[in-house]
Symmetry: D2
Subunit: 355 residues, 4 copies
């Protein structure tokens, strides 16, 4: 069977990556691509790297253009998904790459986003452990909720990266969820194709620029939620700072957390091994190895390096992902594959494009 | 009076930056430039940006070539400074840009470097507060020890950046020195002109690469020492992770520490304001502003942004420096100016070259 | 049928890209990977992005390790291919990514390379027109010589880019092969993983660096040969200057040539349309469109933009390729597919990874 | 005497560089900074690297705010200079960094810009030879016209780079001005702080992007004019292609021209030596040396490498400048120094900031 697909926000970065991956997917046909301001123009005018989709023309993003497909991807600014709910009722699978259906708590939504609250959908980070209340051996994975799902929320790129980094330790109780710090080196494509001065090439080149410092980044509640679901107990306290660095794509998240009392180095490493030992797209590197973002460029892979620093009393987890692939579009396609019962890795590469 | 100067390691990055600054200094004459393997070649063959020094030829680094100057800068690999001690006895001012004379504790030296231990020299970060034992209002600055000094140890670039970030909070007792985390985005020039695969342009471009993860970086004891001198009490625990990002120069250090109990936001900000309010080259940005490395390129300036994250219970300090200028050569020249009684900022720019 | 494959030079950039593409090729099994100095180490220690090949260990490059496969890729420094000739006699298909078998003229070899001259092999740029002596409608393509070939010389990346740019105009006689100029913006990966100071990240970042200026680059005779085969008449004069710019991969070649007398704009455009109208991997962009290297990252695609500048009396051809994919490894795989009678585009992407 | 200065366009890149240089100039006082849309905001909100100018507030750009200074710098979009003519009548020295007063021929203005034509001012590239009609030994320099000038047009950055590259050869008659090709690797800051999609960091990083291909770039008539003034005879034909590459600043111009009949290599080199042998800020590198843009970062220096390619029958001239310094603001300050009778190099560095 071939599934018909519509992609909204097709002129943006997330939309472009969805299309790059879907163009190589044998089970789908890209029938409709939409974008508000650029409707009527050829797709390749905005995505000149998608040579195989030269025949597609951008349509306006409306309920009418999106309805009637088997699968619809929404890559819209937050708060806009709700207006398509009715029109997409008959669509078998809707995957939202925006934030509208990620958060389970309205308090978090009100505090970090605002506007109408939408019901939470299955969370598109299959490898994330889902834990027992109070920690201990995880009882499952987010993947379980994606099987047969009809509505999926793709993750925030920074959120999934940090959640994957810390969840195994939180789930196993080897780190203290009340004392965690993440600092991320991120490429500007995570901020989208927005015309803002601080995203100009002249500002980005040769510079490292922090933003949303001090606890205001919208991915923070999403991470806390994922860690809570992984079994975190007590307060979850995360200091989170993203720094834009001069690479188009990529996230390198350095996350540290206080070591739980009485835990051995072997127990720490075992927590991550247990969580990801059977995974294809989330890989724990051997002791002494650390990941680089170049190694996951264009790949659906999260590479994790782990170190225990006894002098600082902290575990250090360094995780590399491609924000557009594993961070967004790859996660969406992987979740789609799971939902539809296709091989989970179809049309997704575990190998990066380097150097 | 014009001081005669010799610079060793003149073909490297630190040596090149020393020469760039010295070439514009009205009180010095660059008489001798030395380098081991490239002796006999014109300086501009290795530093083609130093057009005004086209007349200089690299000599071998020997006691003979270095002696007989008023001022000697050593920019040599660690462990090599000792062999020049006797020859430089008559030199009025020796400034070592290497690590040999930075650490006061032999234990730290043995653990992180090894080889013969050298006596500590005055530490070339003038703005660092020197505190009372047990914290409280700092009693002075490292500057005080540099006045009239004849032997100076220029700092490690990462070390001075992190020390400047955290010392005011430690000195004032508003942060917990037992729970600190620093993650640094750094340019590859900090690693010198070494021919190593991971420093190749093809490896650096488009990638973020962590190194020395887990507590092994040699600048850690130097930071602990600076914070101890600033008045830190109890254990000092610092998780420290540098990440090489694709910019030739620059350090953006994101440092966070647990807030001390009962401290107000105003008290926190006041600590940094008190420490740096009168400084030219270390500037606390207004609330809500964060620094970028581009803004300090080629400048002797450290720009500091400060945020208080109550949800995470942490202070976040983001500091931008140019690793070669304020991080190394600028600090050396500034220290030289202080030692000689010249205006402290002579030949140093507070403005960066941006974009 | 599954072909067994050996790749030499597997720890380098060309070798890495061959393996990335071969890993996704359904008709081959990567059995052996070799490298001289790194023999005995895991492949992923040198190619950490090739996660699916974690099981492979580098062996020494010897006649014994390479023989006994169906297909052998040589990615060795020039002059080294000859020593494997005897050992590879029974190998069905040998593809040399080095220069040893590219040139048909020993004079060119002696002038630009030196050492023993090797016989020329089929040239791995399938889309290049092969012309009649004296120009006019091309009579075929290099592809014709690759069908069923057992020995193939993959092209030089700069050479194939410039040859593809200019050959249609030369073949059709609309430009003057005696007055051509090419200037290339190239990424440093084209220079390989060599430990040279000018290839360090600190030297490459923020800078544009020309090399081999004035006619000494080794790809010049290769281009002249390709244009001669495309039907160039009279003297072929090409000024060729590569400039290393701060992107890991990519070539953007700006080639200009004097317009032949009496030729119309339409005739000029028609020459390129006729040459590439039916090609998948070499695409002429619509009038007014120009290519960017980002659009072909990781793709086997050459994108060509064409403009006619009557005031300067020159045609301008701007071509973007990924030096490691279409420029080297992709061309090799495409040639392999042709030689073996497989679909020409198998395991090759026409879409790039952007942004 | 201290000159009072006003800088319009102070929130842009050219304005920022003017201010960086003026801030270090001992003979001027920056009294007024203006910008249209950002009036009322602190300068450092838009130029955070200019720490020494923290006290300045942007005012609206009006005749009133600009009048009453000794010196006024206009850094405005083309076509806007005229409205300030009356208001600036009493200003001793006006330097326009825009295009309005560069071209002497109205035909060129109409063809490449359009709108009201303004009278040409003294051209701010002091080192450019001014030749006899018909070529031969240059009779002077543009510098001569700048002495005592009251109205100066700073050059286009690409234009001055290419003009400096080719003028000596044209003036001496050793190259054919009817057959010239320039391809430039340029940083995006040359395009200003414009919010355009193709200037976003995500688009610029990892990519080389040509623009204005085929003879439409506005700097072409400016170059032709400079070469005509240098003594070019007959038709001047220049193929000119700029390529944006991922470095914030810098121009590396590769210019080639057909060798005039009967000219020796020595005569060719002599032409450039004669033109620039006595210059501080335009330097011909020794035979075999080629410049890099990093070596002139922040410097007022143009570095020129020269090669003769007899096989291609062309001279190749590679020139590196910083587009914001020597290309724009440095040239403006240098011209100001000349006009005012100050030392020509005051507040300008011949050394770059590298790596």
């Amino acid at each position: 069977m071939t599934y018909s697909v519509a992609v909204s926000g097709a002129s943006g970065y997330a939309g472009g990556e969805l299309l790059r991956l879907l163009a190589a997917h044998p089970d789908v046909e890209i029938r409709t691509v939409t974008a508000h301001s650029n409707a009527g123009q050829p797709l390749v005018a905005h995505q000149p790297h998608l040579r195989s989709l030269e025949h597609l023309t951008l349509q306006d993003t409306t309920p009418e253009t999106l309805s009637g497909h088997d699968i619809v991807f929404l890559a819209l600014p937050h708060g806009q998904s709700g207006q398509y709910t009715d029109a997409l009722e008959d669509v078998s699978l809707v995957i939202d790459c925006g934030a509208d259906h990620r958060l389970t708590g309205q308090d978090d939504w009100d505090a970090f986003y605002g506007g109408a609250f939408n019901e939470p959908w299955a969370y598109g980070v299959p490898e994330l452990p889902v834990g027992a209340v109070g920690g201990g051996t995880p009882t499952g994975k987010q993947r379980d909720r994606l099987v047969g799902a009809t509505r999926i929320a793709a993750p925030g790129c920074n959120a999934s990266t940090v959640s994957l980094s810390l969840a195994p330790g939180v789930a196993a109780g080897v780190i203290d969820a009340g004392d965690m710090v993440s600092v991320l080196a991120v490429g500007p494509s995570g901020a989208g194709k927005s015309l803002k001065t601080h995203l100009l090439g002249s500002e980005i080149l040769g510079s490292a620029n922090p933003y949303a410092v001090g606890g205001s980044h919208r991915h923070i509640p999403e991470i806390r939620q994922a860690l809570r679901e992984a079994g975190a107990t007590g307060d979850i306290r995360l200091s989170f700072t993203p720094v834009i660095v001069p690479m188009a794509r990529g996230i390198l998240a350095t996350s540290t957390a206080r070591i739980a009392p009485g835990v051995t180095d072997a127990q720490i490493r075992e927590a991550w091994e247990a969580a990801y030992g059977d995974e294809t797209f989330v890989q724990l590197l051997p002791e002494g190895s650390m990941p680089r973002t170049a190694d996951v460029l264009g790949a659906n892979t999260a590479l994790i390096g782990l170190a225990v620093d006894r002098a600082a009393d902290r575990v250090v987890v360094v995780t590399a992902v491609d924000n557009l692939t594993k961070g967004t579009a790859g996660a969406a396609i992987q979740s789609m594959n799971i939902a539809l019962g296709l091989p989970e890795g179809r049309a997704l590469s575990v190998n990066g494009v380097a150097p």
